[in-house]
Symmetry: C2
Subunit: 245 residues, 2 copies
């Protein structure tokens, strides 16, 4: 499995992905699932992937080759972020179908999902979730984040904390705790976590950060979070239920 | 779907279940998934069910009929809670197999899961998770709670807050928030929630409580929880990541 989250908020975009891939519990490996493309000062694009790793990697490889080969349409020259998402969707669908044909298996086995976001100069930042069927949906102010992969454990914290208006620093902490929830509960999600925070209109590639299992900051907020939750719960009034009977 | 949780803690047992059943989004209904059996002062048994509703109901019906029919082995006379769990597992498996045979379909379609717990005088309280295959596992001090149904959204809060030593009042709040997380994220889990809290060695049937969507206490703790989480996050140091670049 995999766990990736991307947020399109008022003040910027956040991208985060784990690095675990698995085919059964005895076949676990680490792969980076975040790729960045940029034209300094003109566009910054971030891609997160889940699903069939061969398909995901082939899509990224093809996007890069198309740039080097100066093809007519590449992620660095199509007019909008929607066109970038569309490019990825079409490519991913083609590659999965081809693989299914070769293997004579169901195409669903080879499907990948992508979160694609960023900003092109003069345009608003955008975030798309690209389905394995090739089409995509855009994040909105009502639904400002998308998850792909093993998303259930990490969704409640985001649902409760994150709105379009949330400050990047606060949303980022919620994202880290969302990863912590997923990693605790599911072996198929694992450290390190790749993080990227893009500020609206900066049009510069952010520094980003890789967070390992022994990261001091991560350990500290997870511990403080756990004890903070218990304190919060203890402060609430008890439910008026006569359970001492 | 369904969401049920049961905890076997130092000071007592907690049982909670939602009431939604669905076969597609246009076929939703309310059914109580909690059943209690007692021999006043001798044994208190609580059963939560998920999975195929026809199988779950048939099992409960049979357990009740066996008591009224004064059968040799019933949940009210077998020597241990393990025997109760075993009785339910065998019955559930028989009923699912029979249904599959009649319908000429896979037995897995008719499977049900059960959480069975309680206390028999002179014995420690016990909690079992009964698989649709008929066998069961017992909760321990290391793993003091079980979930069945749509369990992922509601697991992180329990993982972070609940240990064997946790006070019942605190664990109960965590359970309610676990339900809130599941209900917010998944349409197949819904109010009202049935709650039962049994104190160790009381050997009396607790009052229990049914919590509806407009329950004042529930609304209050969910709201306080949301704002409390945001406060907690804001109090943490920001991650040392130069995302303003």
């Amino acid at each position: 499995m995999t766990y990736c989250v991307a947020l399109n908020l008022k003040h910027g975009l956040i991208f985060a992905s784990d690095t675990r891939t698995n085919a059964g519990v005895d076949h676990i490996a680490s792969f980076k699932k975040m790729t960045c493309f940029q034209n300094e000062g003109e566009r910054n694009i971030f891609i997160l992937t889940s699903g069939n790793l061969a398909t995901s990697q082939a899509v990224i490889e093809r996007l890069q080759q198309d740039i080097h080969g100066q093809m007519e349409k590449t992620v660095l020259n199509v007019p909008t972020l929607f066109d970038v998402a569309d490019l990825i969707g079409v490519l991913s669908c083609q590659i999965a179908k081809q693989a299914a044909k070769v293997a004579q298996q169901e195409v669903v086995t080879f499907g990948s999902n992508f979160l694609v976001g960023g900003q092109i100069r003069g345009q608003a930042p955008k975030l798309y979730s690209v389905y394995s069927e090739g089409n995509c949906i855009a994040a909105t102010e009502d639904t400002p984040f998308f998850q792909i992969g093993e998303s259930k454990y990490g969704k409640p914290i985001l649902d409760r904390v994150v709105t379009y208006e949330t400050e990047l620093a606060v949303a980022l902490k919620a994202v880290l705790l969302s990863f912590d929830s997923s990693i605790r509960s599911n072996l198929s999600v694992g450290f390190p976590i790749d993080l990227m925070v893009y500020q609206v209109d900066s049009l510069r590639m952010p520094h980003g950060r890789r967070i390992h299992a022994d990261d001091e900051y991560m350990l500290q907020i997870c511990q403080e979070w756990g004890s903070g939750l218990v304190r919060l719960l203890m402060d609430f009034d008890d439910i008026p239920l006569d359970y001492t009977q």
